[in-house]
């Protein structure tokens, strides 16, 4: 794998600051608190470890890529911080169980703290992280990766908690079963663990991962930070870059949030401001912001991205820091085309989340 190592680029502090913002936007409210993730990445850097990204085209076909990420409820990861080596323990246990050595780490979910978790674990293991991920955003459940959708079997897998417990999921008959069992286990482990899945080949990863999402998230974050520094409109900068639309502005007027089945479930009501005055918005939450309705009418839903930003700063707000009285902007961004195929929509379309009455109209096609 020497050739691969030569093609890597090493992240610096500015990249991490940009990734915090970019992954926060793509996180659609979930994926874990990116601020905590940023601090962990910086802390790992200061300990002398290198955070490296491997360009997708430098990944060799026979390379073994282990995708990993945090699993649980964002509110827990914001309060019960990690021990720090959960991911490394997963990776080592998985290698031992399956008798292989990983060549690179993969990202399950570019949105939120789950963009940072692979970087930290890979840095401890001396490996790079491939420039791509399984969602191009954040989703609440594990079977919702393009890896799983396009045929990767993610078991055997290993889940570790801060206590030192490690659980191996030997075999799941389907990806959904893997999710159900993993969710039960993560509740027992306290609601915020890390899970590493069975390795993918480099060839598979190149074909089915959402490509270049580290580059995308860092570039997006940088664009927002630069717009802010230049006193330009960061919301416009995001929309322009991602082909999105600013669909609502308002003030959080009610917030229902609770833990259920290991998820943060809830609804946020938004009272319209500015040109939305007189309208009421409603955001449905399952770890992520999934659906946005205006006066009862659906405006955007999964798999397209519902992004909630601070109305003035343009910085992303995650579900666990939402608060009564906040002034927010709601944006709709189109998802990657790999999430729009019929087989993908079966897993990440509105019906997969129990929204039987919603029909998904891809933003990218109606725009």
């Amino acid at each position: 794998m020497r050739d691969m190592a030569d093609s890597c680029w090493t992240l610096d502090e500015a990249d991490i600051l940009a990734l915090e913002v970019g992954s926060g936007i793509l996180g659609t409210g979930g994926g874990g608190n990116p601020y905590i993730g940023k601090l962990r990445a910086l802390q790992t850097m200061r300990e002398g470890h290198k955070l490296r990204i491997l360009p997708l085209d430098a990944l060799e076909d026979d390379a073994k890529v282990v995708a990993l990420g945090g699993i649980g409820a964002p509110l827990v990861s914001f309060e019960r911080l990690k021990e720090g080596h959960e991911g490394l323990r997963c990776l080592r246990a998985l290698e031992e169980r399956m008798g292989f050595k990983a060549d690179a780490v993969g990202c399950e979910e570019i949105g939120g703290q789950n963009s940072m978790e692979p970087l930290v674990t890979a840095a401890y293991a001396g490996l790079p992280v491939v420039d791509g991920d399984g969602m191009g955003r954040a989703f609440p459940e594990m079977q919702m990766t393009t890896y799983a959708i396009y045929g990767h079997r993610s078991t055997p897998s290993v889940m570790c908690d801060p206590h030192g417990n490690a659980v191996c999921f030997e075999h799941a008959i389907s990806e959904k079963w893997h999710e159900i069992m993993a969710r039960a286990c993560v509740i027992a482990q306290g609601g915020a663990s890390v899970l590493a899945s069975a390795p993918m080949s480099g060839a598979f990863f190149k074909r089915h991962a959402i490509p270049h999402t580290y580059t995308q998230a860092i570039g997006l974050g940088r664009a927002v930070l630069e717009a802010r520094a230049a006193k330009e409109d960061p919301i416009a900068a995001i929309c322009e870059r991602e082909g999105g639309q600013h669909i609502f502005s308002g003030k959080i007027s009610d917030l229902k949030r609770h833990m259920e089945r290991g998820f943060n479930i809830g609804v946020a009501s938004v009272e319209g401001l500015d040109d939305c005055r007189g309208s009421v918005g409603e955001i449905t939450i399952q770890n992520e912001f999934l659906v946005f309705r205006r006066d009862g009418e659906m405006q955007v839903c999964v798999p397209d991205l519902v992004v909630v930003l601070d109305l003035d700063s343009g910085l992303p707000i995650t579900t666990e820091v939402l608060r009564y009285g906040q002034r927010v902007a709601v944006l709709a961004l189109p998802c990657h085309e790999l999430l729009r195929s019929p087989q993908a929509l079966e897993v990440v379309g509105p019906k997969a989340f129990g929204f039987e009455d919603l029909v998904y109209h891809p933003m990218a096609e109606t725009a």
Partner: protein, 518 residues
């Protein structure tokens, strides 16, 4: 009619105002003194004399202070603190104060302790409390002369039992040690809550000293009325609360100046610029209230999750130093600060300041105009343009709609403000220089509920409504005008570990103090 005394203790000036109903009877500025008492005493004596009222008629005193914020920003008078976190083996990846500026960590001693304990989200213990380690830490606290402790347990907003037990153990070994519990201060979000608890602990000696000084100054002046201190959200808290929770005053300065500006002008939608000696704070009034920041706010470089107004500071004030000529002009950010009366040219000093530019340009009539008569006209014009540009940028940043709302200029340095900023009209109210003290004098009354409700046999909406009624009644009982009540905080945290579908509801209602009208 209610007679109230408002005092603002700032870093440079201590101001006092006396209000009868809506009428400002007196407004005076005096210098802040090292011991606080002297400045408060001379300001309030001058105000009483100017108002011509009998001091026994004063019904209530309200004090606003930036003393504690400034201590953190300027890194002074902070005590060393034992920052104790209960959460191992979880949370090890990010130790306490991990996101603080280095020099501030040093000021509070960098005493970080992580030990076993804390709760899971469902109320299980992460680990039993490591009592032996606590006893060892108690020994170290005594040995190292650490002055206070801050204890933060994982999920303490859901169950504060372990923080309380840890406090009892520490105090059994260090009887006089003040201990701050994170659950008394903040919400879910370990790092922010823990940071607030540590900052609070580091300020306890200063708050003790300061509250004593306030009380002494009022007593010396023969004032026997109750006194209150204004907190972040513009409401009042009793003196003993400030003693225990000085961090709750962190944002009271900008809150008071914006509320004071709204009161003095009667304008409800505006941008407020508060121009002091060194900096200008810019914020927005919406419906007569300071617009709140949505995301976390830094205080002295530390992230907090307090509810605070969205205020933006620029390095421009009445004492800002001007360098160079018309071509190479530099405006600030250095300032002569409180030495303006010695340093500025128009007061016979040797330093060219923004105040001198204002005097030379005929915008203000203070000091000796002769002393600035010789300033180069091009330089004055260039400096004036530069000052306007700074103000215009700051105002634009706080403006969120193209509506032509007015700009209210307050603070001692507001002579720098032109009559228009961009396309917006500038209003300079009478008593503009003491808007902060006016804001303190009209601080709001709050009513608060923070308690566990059982949802069994009822609904979330009913519980929230009953909490709102209860908080409103408390606010009215404390003197709030019922017609002005508004909910400013409303949070429910379901407590999965308790039977009966329990939820913790935190709700805060505020209203104007009655007796302001007519």
């Amino acid at each position: 009619m209610v007679l109230r005394l408002g005092i603002d203790v700032g870093g440079t000036n201590t101001d006092a105002v006396i209000l009868r109903g809506r009428e400002v009877l007196a407004g005076v500025k005096s210098s802040t003194t090292e011991d606080v008492i002297g400045g408060v005493r001379s300001a309030l004596e001058a105000a009483i004399a100017e108002a011509g009222v009998d001091r026994s008629e004063i019904d209530v005193t309200m004090i606003g202070t930036t003393h504690f914020t400034n201590a953190v920003i300027e890194r002074r008078a902070l005590d060393p603190v034992a920052a104790i976190r209960l959460g191992l083996p979880a949370t090890a990846c990010l130790p306490p104060m991990v996101d603080w500026p280095e020099d501030l960590v040093e000021m509070v001693g960098g005493h970080r302790y992580l030990l076993r304990g804390g709760y899971e989200f469902d109320g299980r213990e992460i680990a039993p409390l490591d009592e032996e380690e606590l006893v060892r830490i108690a020994g170290e606290i005594t040995e190292k002369g650490i002055r206070a402790a801050a204890i933060s347990s994982v999920f303490s907003p859901i169950n504060r039992g372990m923080e309380e037990r840890a406090r009892d153990i520490l105090q059994a070994h260090c009887p006089d040690l003040p201990v701050v519990l994170s659950s008394e201060i903040g919400r879910i979000g370990l790092l922010e809550r823990e940071s607030a608890a540590i900052m609070n602990a580091s300020l306890l000696s200063l708050s003790d000293h300061t509250v004593d000084a306030f009380g002494q100054a009022l007593k010396d002046a023969g004032l026997t009325c109750p006194f209150y201190v204004t907190q972040n959200d513009g409401t009042l808290m009793a003196a003993d609360m400030v003693r225990r929770f000085p961090v709750l005053t962190f944002a009271s300065g900008p809150t008071n100046s914006m509320r004071g500006a709204a009161f003095l002008t009667g304008v409800k939608e505006a941008i407020v610029i508060d121009i002091g000696g060194t900096t200008t704070d810019v914020g927005a009034l919406a419906h007569g209230f300071p617009r709140q920041a949505s995301t976390v706010v830094d205080v002295g470089g530390v992230r907090t999750n307090f509810r605070m107004p969205d205020v933006f500071s620029v390095g421009l004030g009445g004492g800002t130093i001007i360098k160079g000529d018309a071509e190479t002009l530099e405006v600030g950010p250095k300032s002569v600060g409180y030495r303006l009366l010695q340093k500025a040219l128009c007061f016979g000093g040797d330093t060219l300041t923004t105040t001198d530019i204002a005097v030379r340009a005929g915008m203000a009539d203070i000091g000796d105009t002769e002393k600035v008569a010789g300033l180069d006209a091009d330089l004055v014009e260039a400096a004036r343009a530069a000052i306007y540009a700074i103000l215009e940028r700051a105002v634009e940043r706080s403006r969120i709609s193209p509506d032509p709302i007015p700009v209210i200029a307050v603070g001692g340095g507001s002579i720098l403000a032109p009559d228009r900023i961009g396309d917006l009209e500038v209003i300079r109210p009478e008593n503009f220089a003491v808007a902060n003290a006016v804001g303190a004098a009209i601080a709001q009354i709050s009513g608060e509920v923070d308690r566990i409700f059982a949802l069994e046999g009822t609904t979330r909406e009913e519980c929230l409504n009953s909490a709102e009624r209860e908080a409103s009644e408390a606010a009215i009982a404390a003197g709030a005008d019922p017609d002005t009540l508004a909910v400013i905080e409303r949070e429910d945290v379901p407590l999965a570990y308790l039977p009966g579908n329990a939820t913790r509801i935190h709700l805060k209602v505020v209203g104007e103090m009655g007796g302001l009208d007519a």
